[in-house]
């Protein structure tokens, strides 16, 4: 097996992983900032590098619908979108998950309208958090590549059979060039293997009906089975992560702690902000401040126990949310983490909603969060649970 280093944008990294997987069908509709991913992928098809059947639909609603049709016909299927595209797919996202279709979808995170905006926040993916899709989050271009390849295996695990969304920050990661290490096409294809659907529309000897009219006497049990698939993903995700490490040399679990083991205060974040926070942690450590960081890689299924055990020893924690859950108590990540800690820990947890509509978050912003955390750790008092970081009030 040989590895090489390529300088790729986040979207090119995603397209490269998709090319290496060479899915049977890709249904796609362009949307900023996802567009260059699909352009790159379409070029691989146009050049004959791969022979994926592309369905260039007239909307994201049709992209997800065609993905459902193709996956029900036994094909390995991918699509990709952002923001409004996911919002338009939303209805069919639930259907894809409930039909237990292992579709993989890079999700280039962008703020939802309105007002219209094209830059990064996490309101798109967070809006789809209860659709039954597994959500992986990527910090950089390398993780986009790694997560897409692992997503295929996680989705197709016979005990899981759920679609997977691979999130990464629009523009900040999708359009920035980074060095990434890739394996050969053959290694990737060997790792993902051949997909063999248990039930397919394309078997006339065993005709199946997908999408029966499921009333009060069966719907609940079917939903319960889907929930079980999500629970099984808790086992499948680290298993795939370990196998991935054997071939690719990088291991993945649910979370990644940075200087967390001996930390007293920590920030929890998703996506590219984790990279900025790492630099802040290093700067604070140089000043002998015991700062740490927790990156959430898997938001669905939500790794409750793993989060609890990584935070237990801390004195104060701040959750950074790049989306608000309007009129809830703080952002979606904060809600989940507070719920995970409730009755199990008395750790003070505060929330900072930041970066909506692509507003930059810089090291000073994150330093100010750690400064407040140190204060909370000292006094044990929280003045304000939910704050807005970097906004003109």
């Amino acid at each position: 097996m040989s590895k090489k280093v390529l300088a790729l944008t986040g979207n090119d990294s995603g397209a490269y992983a998709m090319k290496q997987v060479n899915p049977d069908v890709v249904a796609a509709y362009p949307i900023t900032p996802q567009t260059s991913l699909m352009e790159k992928f379409a070029q691989y098809v146009a050049d004959g590098v791969i022979d994926t059947e592309m369905v260039l639909v007239e909307s994201e609603h049709s992209a997800m619908s065609a993905s459902v049709g193709a996956s029900s016909a036994g094909a390995r299927v991918m699509t990709a979108t952002s923001s409004q595209g996911l919002a338009l797919m939303w209805e069919i996202c639930y259907i894809a998950a409930s039909y237990r279709l292992p579709i993989v979808m890079p999700m280039v995170n962008r703020a939802l309208s309105g007002p219209i905006n094209i830059h990064c926040d996490h309101s798109d993916a967070m809006g789809a958090r209860d659709t039954g899709w597994i959500q992986l989050w990527s910090e950089n271009a390398q993780e986009i590549y790694d997560n897409i390849i692992q997503a295929v295996r996680i989705a197709e695990d016979p005990d899981v059979l759920l679609p997977v969304m691979v999130n990464y920050d629009g523009f900040i990661i999708s359009h920035a060039v980074e060095n990434i290490t890739v394996c050969d096409d053959a290694d990737v294809r060997k790792f993902v293997g051949e997909y063999k659907a248990k039930y397919t529309l394309l078997d006339s000897k065993n005709p199946v009906t997908f999408g029966t009219f499921d009333l009060a006497d069966y719907y609940f049990e079917h939903k319960r089975q889907e929930i079980e698939g999500m629970r099984n993903a808790v086992k499948a995700i680290p298993k795939v992560g370990k196998e991935f490490a054997k071939v690719f040399g990088r291991e993945y679990g649910f979370l990644e702690g940075y200087k967390l083991d001996d930390a007293e205060v920590a920030v929890i974040a998703l996506g590219s902000t984790v990279g900025t926070a790492r630099a802040v942690v290093d700067a604070l450590r140089a000043k002998n401040i015991k700062a740490g960081l927790l990156k959430i890689r898997v938001f669905r299924p939500f790794p409750e126990d793993e989060i609890l055990s990584s935070l237990r020893h801390l004195k104060a924690v701040a959750v950074l949310d790049r989306a608000d859950a309007l009129n809830a108590i703080g952002g979606p990540l904060y809600n989940e983490i507070r719920a995970a800690l409730y009755n199990r820990s008395s750790l003070p947890v505060v929330n900072y909603v930041y970066g909506l509509g692509g507003r930059d978050i810089n090291m000073d912003d994150i330093s100010s969060v750690y400064a407040e955390l140190s204060e909370i750790a000292k006094t044990g008092k929280i003045k304000e649970k939910v704050k807005y970081l970097g906004v003109r009030e």
Partner: protein
Amino acid sequence: MANLKELAKRKEVLTGGHRLCAGCAAPIIIRQMSLAQEIPLVVGCATGCLEVSTTVHPFTAWKCSYIHCAFENVAATVSGAEAAYRSLKNRGKLKEEFRFVAIGGDGGTYDIGLQSLSGMLERGHRVLYLCYNNEAYMNTGIQRSSATPKGAHTTTAPVGEVRVGKKEYPKDLTGVVVAHRIPYTAQASPSHWNDLITKSEKALSVDGPSFLNVISPCPLGWAYPSDKTIEIAKLAVDTCFWPLFEVENGTTWKLNYKPANKKPITEYLKTQGRFRHLLRPENKTVVEEIQKRIDDDWAALLKKCGAQS
């Protein structure tokens, strides 16, 4: 087309015991369509009467592969299945032959599913799209659609003190489809079964998209006795309310049936409760308008088909 004796031996895709109403034309249309050829079908259904009545879990009335996804996306869903078929064939992972049929009512086709249908036609998928057109949202209780005829009573465009049912004429969806210049487009009626089966055979044999718009009388929504379905479908054709024609490649028009005596529209209207109010003297002008529209459309159709009036 195969003769009746051969047709009788063919396997049908829809079994008895489904829960559609007595007298519903939809299963008759599906049976006629599926007799057209013997290659296994993959059928997709939009949400609607046919879908809910044939697949109440844990039962299915479909003997062939079947998928329902949602209301507005049967064309996109079946596009995906057909793309998967081509991909798996190309990659040598599949040997079997299949034909693909997407089925929607008028709500799922004329209205909410129009964009999805247009996309499927433009992309050239080898799929037969069949619209069983019962001219309103029957599944949700007879609400008006863009296929509902002018003057018909529906629950959202009802007859009242100042309104005479639906104010607007239906959308010419067949014309919209023809404008996509797909290989084969036709209008059909279950009363002319021979014509419908022949058209289905043609539609499934072309290497690209095809579209059948089939009038589908509904005893409940149209308010008539359930044993009159085929008679009413025949009257729709004989009054030229629902002409039978086909168009190849969006350009070659052909009339398939010309009534020996074109009947006045009142002959059709008086068979159905949804039009009953139109026969009252004060609504005479509405009926005259409807008749004129039918006459004009018929003359235009004859011209397109190069037929004599």
